[in-house]
Symmetry: C3
Subunit: 366 residues, 3 copies
């Protein structure tokens, strides 16, 4: 507990934890104040996500390289997963899909771009081990092809289109999870020497295992509770702000879900450790595409009112594909300067601007 309090004292982000009880109480007190609840929920998720990723890392550190890497790789996007499961349970497939596509695009363009920009503003040229970036962007490209397929089938306008799309989505989900597993075997086991960062240094004082596991459980429950408020209020709040649901799902939800990771990735970039920044950004993007998205499809048979497929709005597939191709080009050289970051952030801005002008009624099937 001492460790936790010390942690909180040193990390201003965690001060936002005070909002967690407030939002839980407010939900009972003023259930109709959607915009207010939405803002509180956003503020509460950010520090919880930070705690969650910290707890995951602590557990991972105690369990040794292989299991630890696996834990990090599967629980790394736990916040996004919990938010999405809550939305799935509420039958909001469109919000789930928008947040999946949005998280991929936000991580691959905005988080990566901002890292390269922030690092580049301090260092003239940054070199980094590009193995991680290449693996993750290749995985991302593969996953994009899998997201393209159901849309292509749906386009054919078949008699039993919906059934076929669902069948295909389930098969693709299994395929993606297998590919993700093999990718872990490759990067954590058979070829791990390629993915080693130059040095790791600064042995952080990790939490004791008991605290870590306890935190993992408690915070997961809290994130789930707050996510429910978030999912319930997001639609109404968007209307109040005059934003399209597409914009909210793609941009707002994604940035909120990834806020904690972004803090870590940005700080690594400022310390000239771009290996780590690139791995966090693109690793997270590929994890969402190859693990979170297919797991949600499979989970939808259990938790949702109706099963969810992998058929995305063509615009979303295009954005994901452009992000994957840009990430592949960018990480191909292993060198970076500030303008590379600007380019990625600008492409993200083009997407955000486009989603912003689309009116509420027209964001397609997700």
């Amino acid at each position: 507990m001492q460790t936790l309090l010390k942690e909180i004292r040193h990390n201003p982000l965690l001060w936002l934890l005070v909002v967690v009880p407030i939002v839980l109480v407010a939900e009972k007190a003023v259930p109709e104040a959607h915009t207010f609840l939405f803002v509180l929920a956003v503020l509460a998720i950010v520090p919880l996500a930070a705690l969650l990723s910290h707890a995951t890392e602590a557990v991972a550190a105690k369990t040794g390289d292989a299991v630890g890497g696996l834990l990090n790789a599967t629980l790394g996007n736990l916040t996004e997963l919990i938010i999405a499961v809550t939305a799935l349970h509420a039958g909001q497939h469109m919000l789930v899909k928008a947040s999946i596509a949005g998280a991929i695009v936000t991580n691959a363009l905005f988080m990566l771009g901002a890292c390269l920009l922030l690092g580049g503003l301090r260092y003239h040229v940054q070199e980094y081990n590009r193995a991680g970036g290449r693996l993750y962007s290749a995985l991302l490209l593969m996953a994009t092809v899998a997201l393209l397929a159901p849309s292509a089938v749906a386009d054919l306008d078949l008699a039993h289109g919906a059934v076929l799309t669902q069948k295909l989505s389930t098969g693709l989900a299994a395929l993606l999870i297998i590919a993700y597993g093999l990718g872990l075997v490759f990067s954590l086991h058979t070829h791990k020497e390629f993915f080693a960062s130059d040095e790791h240094g600064e042995a952080e004082a990790h939490w004791p295992i008991g605290l870590a596991v306890g935190m993992l459980l408690v915070v997961t429950v809290l994130v789930a509770l707050v996510s429910e408020i978030f999912v319930e209020s997001v639609q109404k709040a968007a209307e109040t702000f005059g934003m399209s649901p597409a914009f909210v799902g793609f941009i707002i939800v994604s940035i909120v879900g990834a806020a904690a990771e972004m803090a870590v990735a940005f700080s690594a970039a400022r310390r000239n450790r771009l290996d780590m920044s690139v791995s966090i950004a693109l690793g997270s993007a590929s994890q969402i595409a190859l693990f979170v998205a297919p797991v949600l499809v499979l989970l939808s048979y259990v938790v949702g009112p109706t099963p969810m497929n992998l058929q995305f709005w063509p615009g979303a597939v295009t954005m994901v594909m452009i992000s994957a191709v840009m990430a592949t080009f960018i990480t191909n050289s292993g060198r970076s300067a500030w303008f590379i970051g600007v380019l990625l952030v600008f492409v993200y801005a083009i997407f955000a601007m486009t989603l912003y002008v689309i009116p509420p009624a027209a964001q397609g099937p997700g």
Copy 2:
């Protein structure tokens, strides 16, 4: 003849030659047993294709580097060409186009991926001369653009659309053949030093020229006869197996047509000679796109009931384009490990799965 018998004794694949007379007799005896004939035809084509490519190589070896390279380059996909001409003669443009697109995708994704995977399972990291891979994937990209154009024009829904598409296809076919020819001048003449493999070693005992030329003629006739049975039975057999014609044309026909080459490419990969594997896989893919496909368009004016155009089903163009881009990315580094192979094979699996679920009535214009 002695040489041939020795060859057959050492190569179990060639034992399948016994099926050739069986299928020819069976076609007269039980012309209605489509599924049975289809299976026999597939089994007969595989060893014939092996003999054909062996004979081509033997003739090429005797005629010196330049002419030999040219022969190899033009007759390398003779099996695919014969099958396609047979289908063209039967007016089955859809089957021809599916087998063209399928052969490109199968060679660029499945054959290349399986080579990298098989090689990677034996060697930790494999390095190879990437010049061949880069040339072939660049040619493939160019050809993909040419396949895109007629679909784009057809999309415009013009008054005389069919006439324009045909005119454009004929022009593009001429352009592709010229590009293919210039590519041969580049790789076999002006810049051949870039495409030299490290060593060739193991001087194989090639057949004498008389045997080789004789074989080339005899086997070509046999392949043509078996292809006719294959093309006649494939549609009905597909219905029996519950497979869509798109799946059959794309996947089954392509794998059958390329079986012999695959055996050679896989064996090269296992002997750490990835140069050769990459050249066979991508060379074959680009040859089909830049030589076989346009030749078929031009031939269709002579052998077909109606001329064939280059307008492919948009899904097929997308698959070919994704294959070309993936091949370009992959061969860009000149290094490989097993997971790269897995990625390519998985993308192929995504395509196969998608084609499999499409019902018989909806595979578009080819």
Copy 3:
């Protein structure tokens, strides 16, 4: 004046200046001879463009590196800009857009490809500093995404689609101009050492500043006058030649507008200075995409009868995207041989052929 006359005597291209007064007189004398006026206007624009770029360079040389680079970068496509403003003033948005997309494609494929081919026919392998090529092709990729967005929004078939597309286009135009400005800061200021060519040599005798500025003003006015004749006659002339307006806007206008730059780029390639050729070709393409196009959108509020948006015909966006991706792949290696040039020119030929067969009535919204 002496300098100018000497220049004219040594540069046969400038002899065409004699056509300038002829076309201005002819327009008054035979205003209905559209085809005749069109041919004269084309012949007159070529030497004027050469003078314009020469004057710009001379002014740039006198004003020092930073301001000079900026001048060159903003006035480098002055001819294209003047032609486009004239067409904008006439309300011919379709012609403006076709010439924008066409100029990008012509510079990135035809000019670059012809440089690599011409250089490659003289030198076996050419090496060049790829920094410029990579920056410009990355900028081009970003701009392509911006051109894609309004088409995607327009596809949604919204109630107030046109208003939204206009709003989005204006926002994107601002974004592109900012990105272009930051690109200049990067390449001319913070990281200029990466973009330095090996040597510059041959100190050309530049015009005195007075002559240069005078020329800039006089020639700009002349280009504007001739452009007006060109824009008025091009439509009718196209009909006479049996060419579609899409072909004329894309191919003819682009080649005319870039003729002067092409002469410089080709000559640099023949002197083994591919750095310069690549920078001219791709620099010009990215300048049109990131500076000329958005400036025209903003100017359309002032000079045009109605504001212009950035919504291009999907086929045009596809061509621009393919050009940007090809340029990215090609300039990635920093080495070239003649066949690379052939590939780019062939892709351009595929586009030209496709545009040529599209009949006059069907070229979409521009």
